[in-house]
Symmetry: D2
Subunit: 433 residues, 4 copies
Amino acid sequence: MIDDAVFQNYESAVRSYCRDFPAVFQSASGDHMVDENGRRYIDFLSGAGALNYGHNNSHIVQPVVEYLQQGGVVHALDLYTAAKRRFIKEFHDVILVKRGLDYRIQFPGPTGTNAVEAALKLARKVTKRSTIAAFTNGFHGMTLGALAATGNQYKRGGAGVALHNVVRMPFESYHGVGVDTVAIIEKMIQDPGSGVEPPAAFLLEVVQGEGGLNVASDSWLRRLSELASRVGALLIVDDIQAGCGRTGSFFSFESAKIVPDIVCLSKSIGGIGLPLALVLIKPEHDLWSPGEHNGTFRGNNLAFVAATAAVDFWRDDELSDSLVYKGRYIMSRLAAMVEQHLAGQATVRGRGLLAGIAFCDAELADRVSKAAFKRGLIVETCGPKSEVLKLLPPLTVDLDTLQEGLDIIDASMMEIIAQQKAAAAASLDLLAS
Amino acid sequence: MIDDAVFQNYESAVRSYCRDFPAVFQSASGDHMVDENGRRYIDFLSGAGALNYGHNNSHIVQPVVEYLQQGGVVHALDLYTAAKRRFIKEFHDVILVKRGLDYRIQFPGPTGTNAVEAALKLARKVTKRSTIAAFTNGFHGMTLGALAATGNQYKRGGAGVALHNVVRMPFESYHGVGVDTVAIIEKMIQDPGSGVEPPAAFLLEVVQGEGGLNVASDSWLRRLSELASRVGALLIVDDIQAGCGRTGSFFSFESAKIVPDIVCLSKSIGGIGLPLALVLIKPEHDLWSPGEHNGTFRGNNLAFVAATAAVDFWRDDELSDSLVYKGRYIMSRLAAMVEQHLAGQATVRGRGLLAGIAFCDAELADRVSKAAFKRGLIVETCGPKSEVLKLLPPLTVDLDTLQEGLDIIDASMMEIIAQQKAAAAASLDLLAS
Amino acid sequence: MIDDAVFQNYESAVRSYCRDFPAVFQSASGDHMVDENGRRYIDFLSGAGALNYGHNNSHIVQPVVEYLQQGGVVHALDLYTAAKRRFIKEFHDVILVKRGLDYRIQFPGPTGTNAVEAALKLARKVTKRSTIAAFTNGFHGMTLGALAATGNQYKRGGAGVALHNVVRMPFESYHGVGVDTVAIIEKMIQDPGSGVEPPAAFLLEVVQGEGGLNVASDSWLRRLSELASRVGALLIVDDIQAGCGRTGSFFSFESAKIVPDIVCLSKSIGGIGLPLALVLIKPEHDLWSPGEHNGTFRGNNLAFVAATAAVDFWRDDELSDSLVYKGRYIMSRLAAMVEQHLAGQATVRGRGLLAGIAFCDAELADRVSKAAFKRGLIVETCGPKSEVLKLLPPLTVDLDTLQEGLDIIDASMMEIIAQQKAAAAASLDLLAS
Amino acid sequence: MIDDAVFQNYESAVRSYCRDFPAVFQSASGDHMVDENGRRYIDFLSGAGALNYGHNNSHIVQPVVEYLQQGGVVHALDLYTAAKRRFIKEFHDVILVKRGLDYRIQFPGPTGTNAVEAALKLARKVTKRSTIAAFTNGFHGMTLGALAATGNQYKRGGAGVALHNVVRMPFESYHGVGVDTVAIIEKMIQDPGSGVEPPAAFLLEVVQGEGGLNVASDSWLRRLSELASRVGALLIVDDIQAGCGRTGSFFSFESAKIVPDIVCLSKSIGGIGLPLALVLIKPEHDLWSPGEHNGTFRGNNLAFVAATAAVDFWRDDELSDSLVYKGRYIMSRLAAMVEQHLAGQATVRGRGLLAGIAFCDAELADRVSKAAFKRGLIVETCGPKSEVLKLLPPLTVDLDTLQEGLDIIDASMMEIIAQQKAAAAASLDLLAS
């Protein structure tokens, strides 16, 4: 039994993850969490991608504690602080310069949705256009501007008002293999009779984290990027979930060799889950007037300290090299499970450490997730029908733990499939009798 | 000279406070900040109201540090954690029960604007209506839904799209003393020919922090609250800036003896400026479906730890009693300055420790703010034309520091007025010659 | 019994006037209509203001018949035709020049709502602003753009979507005698914190025909007109119902000595009820590109022929002089009825031949209308609660018929009041027994 | 020289057709118009489809004249009249019953755009949904609700505000022959992650008259109709231009054997170009409340008289039989021209007497139209780039006149192509020299 009366009685019904993973967690470290009964769970959820460096990564926690002990400025709006300057400098030197990127950094309110809202405003200001071209199954946040760009019907329905100024475009392969979605998009935008206004920007995730782990290929991204500049639209990459190394490189779009006009970062940029968000803007598009978009917590200096420490992981190639191996290992294990338990009737999706299995039978994903939790693994589902089992282990996951987690998924799938077969057989018997 | 090249070169042009208060801050404590040249500033800005308990309040910092050192869960989405349970319980027992309030607590993304977005969605869901009645000079945030409810034209212009589903209502005294604005509002809403749809909710601040320190009286609030229930609309109090003791009581609406249907809290709820936001919902209105509104950082457990410690300040009456004295002191000093330097040609506004002077000549506020900064005081301006000098000292401000800060304002005003008179005299001479 | 099976079976439930005035009409002439049973009705409805010159005015019908017999062009889009040239020339010479007005004429689709849609588009184009300031109880049409500017909740509800880009302003006296609504409007528009965007235009009727016969005074109109130019907004007068002589002069705004930037005309401009609409545009605002707003029936040449003949009524002062006497007679009769039957507990409203009685008890208006119909008079109700009995006799109404119609209203009121008193006495008796 | 000073000086710059066809027309009869210099023009424009029965068709004009001479009610809002009853009965008996259709008839304001606005409102009311699925290159009118559903960018731009609540779907073959657009539409609507809300209705033209004469095949229409009922959306056919016989049958959708939920008619329904519009509604969807959508000229009784006479043309098969031959003749002539003058580098489009040539070089269409006018033929262009020469002769066009008109097009094309070749040769010479 878990001691959840306080939540039942006083927390809003909107709470959700706690319903799927019923435990009261107390401590956490690296790739695992521990509940107040002392039970240990492997964490393949990673705070929905905010814990790429694992829980309480000591390399990050230590400077944070020191900063607090030294009386560093914790909260400062957008006043200049030494901590902020350090972060900007490190991020610029280690992340941007090394990748040949030149961006101005905006600190919006410290959530992904605030970063997207800022990006959309800026794109509209720069282009003097109002429509945003967003993609099927895109997920960009829950505030009204970002929600309008989000595809999920359930989330959209929460708005309570019609969502405007967004036109929906098909992601790669959305209409099947034979249909070239960039051609479809180009036709809609270039045809003066299409009824689609030239967009201020294309807003997309390279790997759709909530939308079902759909991956945009490098060539598709390049064609989309070229189309964007041809039609005078900005390209905004929402790298909130897929960035910070999640897909194998710091930014998800590196292998495509495109340079988005605006990039949104959040989640793992704060190192240990401290709220922070960044909008990276090509200098020529940084047309903001002072304070035109702001937010109280845009100066979360504790997060700057953590983020600065997290940048260290990208000074050399150790982390990124390890991701290659881990990503491949996950993919091969998942492929084997699909082959073995489902006779190939499911699809392995994703890239890097943002990977999973799309089941044909949507319920299976949920049942496997629940069975895995019983066995000590936290792993969630995603996709329009929650039909995709989604693995987000910390990038720093220990290899043994990674194997252990995958073993649990393997066993859970086997269990669930066996149950399903037994149930089918039983109902067949019933029918026959 | 300040070392701001990194900001000039790499931070977006959207930064704003740093332009008015040019210094690079390094440490802070209680009611003052220190820049990297060792210069000390009295802080009457308090992180725009996020630092009601002062910088790095040791009663709050200590448990935060301990929590980190013990490997407590830092980030957990809306999973159950021991730290979250402790916060809910303390907030419920110490803040709500003692005031006879019964609210469910929702944790949206950890910014004020996210809390407002959640509140608006919920009000629309509960009432099945789409229009929000917001007030002249209201400020509610920068994401699209909250921005639509915000009055400031400059902020609204940043949207780049038309802002919908909000109808604007006059705040108390907006149309002058003789005009009863509740009567105006009632007429517009009750008349089936007015063109104003019955609203889902009234959304307001009891003291308009950004909008110019306009104060709603208890009787006006009561009449508005009654009107709201008469027309089937919810009453949402945005207590993000005016709450957490800022106006003298924990909630700004306590003296009015109204019970809003929804209350938004953020800013100082996180104790030392750690991002956190709360939506308090009457149980009968908690109609959320699971996950219908969410956000990655809604489980900022470090902020829960800080917030729990901050609740301690409300266990007895020491803090709130001190606010009465401090508030009166500020008001009397400001009144004296207006009398002395401006011959009464300005208005003292606000309540509690959210107080200021509305100048007839809008430029004066800015000039006094700048002069004060030179003398070592951080104090900002607000209002539709930035015509109001706005004082937000920490609630815990030391009495000597409070006096010192007010002395600086006094001296700055005297200096600016003298300059103005000299300039006027000079131009008169010029004219005469 | 009326033979209405065809309507009951095959016409949409949206039909409405026929429900209040159940008869099948066959012929009509001047100020009366005749049903197929030969019963004659005095017409104080005048096709909702489209028949200012009475039914089948022979001065207009004759050239229309001749035109058809001569094979004149009937329908021509916006091709040049001789009939159109004649109309433009006559309208320009007789109506505009004589009043010192200089307008370009646009022919939108031949309905009032199409004229309003065109006017709003143009105002938005000219000012590069999107918001229209419309008034409480304004009525401007049923297509989405015009409907957004309409105040009536029932009509608005028909849209099925939220109505945007309109801000609602109080008409003169809307908030009671003591409240200066121009001052209220000015405050909302000039204050950068009000949340009200500077409007592209003010759109209003000088006498609100559907909204309850509220009359804007000359001085209020002048102040509003001055405010409009001060804030860079156009002034659009919707003279669709109040124009063409209805209020005593050809345009309703003549006595106010204002010159609107745009004027919408329809209804009686087509002479005998032939569909036609005009948008009059100050030359400097005629920024339309060719075909930017159009409509198939914008070249209703039969209506041009009728409209040209109708202009003849304005060559001398005979018609307008007669309106003064008729208007006064109506007002004095209505005032006497209110005094006599209602002890002054109702208000006489309107101007010219657009006049009526606003009852305190909304049901009375409907009951008087129904009683009058039984006595052979067609007279409708208006106002947000249908509380106003509204008289629109043809401008050319015969004096005897006018008196007869008013006698019927008088008798109907007497009858209804007597019934009401009897019912009250009966229920009193019942109570007493 | 034409006498157009009055238009130049006093008519708005919005006028358009008169710029392409500069003449002042005076009389018209059947398939030709005559200007005031006595010049005769063959009319392949037919008032943009409002003159299917030719100009001043004597079978229609005569009863109209008689009605006026007998003092019939001309204008009656939606009061019952004998003329209206006669029209409803005839339309029901001759048009609907014979085709096995059962519709309630609504009379909105007498323009196509008003009919579309009514249809959209009703679909939203019936389904309680807000989004309308409209098609690429669809044209539905110029008032705000209908304009939102229109594809043409130039027309849309005239709105001056963002157009909402419409999602754009690809028409048949829009994305090329290989792409199944019904499959695309179904995916977008059925996928809960697509970001496309389930629509209240699909709104389409069977042949897109303004959008470039694109034709929906019977099988595509049937699949779309089935999809609509599967997803709970209404099917609205906008038959304003393609109906009333224009494509060979009275309704454009007859051969597809579908039964739309709502049909919009206007243009030729009024017989000789008198403004009239109809909304045909399946009885189960006629959920209008009285007066929920109205308009002053919804009772244009003169048009009812004309429309009743026009129905006569559908009592036997004479007219429809003749359309088969005429349609084939036009198609074969156009095909021959494309073959002969353009070596097949253009496409013949359309159906019935709504046919034309889509040129690869958009300018050609305009030049051919202008050349034809010089030779005495009025024929316009359409399509997103005005690249389609569009033929709309009256359905009653004389065979000799039809041939004469096509000969003029043939000669004009030859002339323009020859000019083009000469110009190309000249510039080649210039290059060579």
